[in-house]
Amino acid sequence: MSEVKTAVLIRTRHPRQKPTEPDATEYSYEWAEILKQQFETSGWQVIDLAIDNAITSQVESILQDAKNEVVIFYGHGFPSCMIGQNLEAVINLNNMSLLKNKKVYVMACWTTQELGKKAESVVYCYLGYNQPVSFRLAYSDYLGKCVNKGILKMLNTDGCTFEDARQEIIAEYNYWIKHFKGKGMLAHWFATDLRENRDALRLLGGAGATL
């Protein structure tokens, strides 16, 4: 009997700074929920470090286990770190050795710029963004489709590599850019976000890695 594979899902959901202004993580939290359900349906065990569990102590404890080799982060990012629920730098330049031999899939702003680049020597591979990831609230579901596309493709397709996943994500972005361009001000604006997000996607380390 084959061993059950495990994915570590780290996802924040930050409170609103103003009652009328939703935080972007309200949306990414739900996109990550889709991942969790699909992984579990496919027979994976998901260690869900959600909201109050998306903090440094929990993340460090879980990542120390070498079995947990797939790490998914959905939340806010800086060039040098992924940001946890209490605004701590949960994975940063000082504890990035925790990512040793991990396959890392990140939906956050900036993180490949510094953290990903420096972690490249220890990770198995690292897929993330080197610029801000932004969107228009009215079209949030479509960004969710783009950012989830790569990992779901790997989950559902034998032999699908991180490089294949990267290309799938770009194709998904291109599809929705074409769909929304020139379709009114807000839709066109959303297309500009997708275009920038697409161009910010970076794959570091072993492009041939699979889940």
């Binding site: 202004e21 939703p22 939340g75 806010h76 605004l87 228009r136 609230l137 009215a138 807000l186």
Partner: protein, 196 residues
Amino acid sequence: MIQSKILLVDDEQGVVAQFKEALTSEGYTVETAYSGEEGWEKYQHNYYDVVIVDWKMDKMSGMQLLENIDKMHQSTKVIMITAFADENPDIAVEAHHHHAFDYLPKPIDRNTLLQTVAEAMQRKDGVIAALENWVIAHPEEAVRPQKATFSLMGESQVWSAKDILEEIKNNTEFGREEYRKLFQLTIDLLTRGEVE
């Protein structure tokens, strides 16, 4: 209705007063600067539909100011004026090289000034004009939170369309980035019809 805004840069106070009176009488909002440095300082932090700049000023010349504006926002409509047109016929060529909208030798009569400014206004920045029109036509939607990002950098992570228009007009880093994105995708659509 969004009032069109003009920056008037000339070290001759009499010219500034005379032009300002003529332009405000037509309903334009006019801000003034009495040196190239002052004009550049104001330009960097505000949006102007049209900039009128005198060629000869101490320290930062009108041409230098035009060059700076050209590097920052090539689509800004700059009208270069000078009392030295006869002595320096190359000024007009150089001004056009830096994308000046027009070049007027002094003395400039009221009608010529107003007509040239009106023509420049008709060709105002297309991205900003489109945004302004959209904000006016969709007053409720324009103030709703609209854009979000997965970064905690900066004071805000959520913006309305009206906020973004203000950021663009105030020439902030965020505003310039939004403008660049819109402009780039629009250019892609116009030139290739595609975005790859």
